[in-house]
């Protein structure tokens, strides 16, 4: 027993078996209904966009791992989720180089330079999107993206239509159409029903926090309702806002991204609500048609401050009592 180390490790020795791979796999699973619908609606190009985006994101991460001589981390599927989400936020006829650059920005600037998974204070997918939209706004115009398509419904991007033509344009789209994805938009963001099903699945499985989604949706509905009530001819109704653009994707898959959101209940509720409010402000009085991307990034910035609202730990501050 000469100098034998008897105690080799400490408890706990149990684990609930959850890990990042499972978490991210479930995330992708939850995205599937909307993604498949996108392929059915927009055809092979949509599949191409999502596949290229997913593989590019993983490839970039692998390349960065190799260059920086770190162990490969694509096994946790985080990059795959970033890639898939990124692809789902693009129109079906996005040029390939845009996806290559965008996933690089998302993975490199959004994630790897902060130290990889969990270290980035911003949502990598959204960061990539925001940078791209700032540079190449014209490729995100859904109205021009689908000129070669024939649709059995109004081929106008709902939010852009409302922005340019006023709230009356909202009547072109019935809520049922928006709900069932009968609108043009990003390949993975149009199918409201699928996104809601996926989101509820994630929440029930405990991979997304209901506080974030619910407060986010509440923020959108309440703010949009107030605008609509004040001036129905200028501002579209709350449900229109909820079902159009990236809103639902944001509510269930973007604002719930864990590394950039708070963890306590009250901050989560405030965070989501603030995000919802900012989105509607941007749509109704700001310069953007769909503010989801920047609004969520903006609340990402506020998240560390919100995290200061927290319960006192057991026995904290009683040392001198």
């Amino acid at each position: 027993m000469n100098n034998t180390k008897l105690t080799v490790s400490h408890a706990p020795f149990w684990h609930d078996g959850d890990n990042l791979f499972k978490k991210n796999l479930n995330f992708m699973l939850a995205l599937l209904p909307a993604a498949i619908f996108g392929i059915l609606q927009f055809g092979a190009p949509a599949l191409g966009v999502m596949a290229l985006s997913l593989s590019c994101a993983m490839l970039w991460e692998l390349v960065i791992n190799l260059v920086s001589k770190k162990p490969a981390t694509i096994g946790d599927l985080e990059a795959a989720v970033i890639g898939l989400l990124f692809g789902m936020m693009l129109p079906a006829i996005t040029p390939w180089w845009l996806i290559v650059v965008g996933t690089f920005v998302a993975v490199f600037v959004g994630k790897m330079i902060f130290g990889g998974i969990g270290s980035s204070p911003f949502n990598p997918t959204l960061l990539g999107m925001a940078v791209l939209m700032m540079s190449w706004k014209m490729f995100f115009d859904f109205d021009t993206a689908y000129v070669d398509y024939e649709f059995a419904f109004t081929a106008l991007a709902p939010l852009a239509a409302v922005k340019t033509q006023g709230a009356a344009a909202a009547d072109l789209f019935t809520l049922g159409d928006l709900f069932m994805g009968r609108e043009v938009g990003a390949v993975g963001a149009t199918f409201g029903l699928g996104l809601i099903i996926g989101g509820i699945y994630l929440i029930l499985r405990g991979y997304a926090r209901w506080e974030l989604s619910v407060s986010f949706i509440a923020g959108i509905l309440i703010t949009a309702f107030l605008f609509h009530a004040a001036s129905p001819q200028n501002y579209a109704g709350p449900l229109f806002h909820l079902l159009s653009g990236y809103t639902l994707l944001g509510a269930f898959f973007l604002i719930t991204e864990s590394a950039s959101s708070p963890v306590n209940r009250i901050p989560m509720l405030l965070y989501g609500f603030l995000g919802g409010v900012v989105i509607i402000l941007m749509r109704n009085i700001g310069a953007y048609a769909d503010g989801t991307i920047l609004a969520i990034l903006l609340v990402n910035v506020v998240s560390p401050l919100l995290d200061n609202i927290r319960p006192n730990a057991l026995g904290r501050g009683m040392n001198n009592a």
Binding site: V101, V109, I113, V131, M134, S135, W136
Partner: protein, 202 residues
């Protein structure tokens, strides 16, 4: 003497090149580097102020009472800044317009006051001029290189002087205009700083 002169001059070009090694003077660095031309213009204006204020402060270093030295430095620097401002207005008007408020703000550029306090007030005029020139040219090079990176990626062109690009990538290139916007300035400088750290380590 010649050796130390060369040393004071060259340190500003690499070992203490602002803003990469001396993290000072970030505001003009970020604000004016949309193009190489602006970077060079800003850099030269700053160099002018640096050299002359260093010279004068070094000359007067035994006359200036220590208690009011900062006030004296500020008066001297502000004088040269105003001269630069007027001269640029008279001879390079378009550049003056693009650099705008950042020309009078050379007066609060930490690099200038920092060199005055840390170097010129303790050294002979010749060394002070060498130091000012080195740091100034280093600053100009930094601004020009950052401007080059941002301009070529963000606009697909390189403009050295006079407003007309000397090089353009071509029509096939969709400019990554994020780089010439405000956020891109921060990100580009941050990445270049990281690059310098990487080189410096080796």
């Amino acid at each position: 003497m010649a050796q130390s002169l060369a040393k004071e001059f060259t340190k500003g070009l690499w070992a203490e090149i602002p803003p990469f090694r001396l993290v000072l003077g970030l505001c003009p660095t970020l604000a004016v580097t949309k193009s190489v031309e602006n970077g060079i213009g800003m850099g030269l204006a700053t160099t002018f102020v640096l050299v002359f204020s260093n010279l004068l402060i070094s000359l007067l270093r035994n006359v200036i009472p220590p208690k009011v030295r900062i006030a004296c430095y500020i008066v001297i620097i502000a004088t040269f800044v105003t001269i630069v401002e007027l001269v640029m207005q008279a001879y390079t008007y378009p550049l003056f317009l693009t650099l705008g408020i950042f020309i009078p703000l050379i007066v609060v550029n930490c690099i200038v006051l920092g060199r005055a306090e840390a170097f010129a007030s303790k050294n002979t005029p010749v060394l002070a001029v060498a130091d000012g020139l080195g740091i100034g040219i280093g600053f100009t090079l930094s601004l020009a290189s950052l401007g080059a990176v941002r301009e070529i990626i963000g606009a697909g062109t390189i403009t050295i002087w006079g407003g007309n690009p000397v090089f353009a990538v071509g029509d096939w290139y969709h400019p990554f205009s994020f780089m010439v916007e405000a956020p891109g300035a921060f990100v580009a400088l941050g990445l270049m700083l990281a690059g310098m750290n990487l080189i410096g380590k080796k």
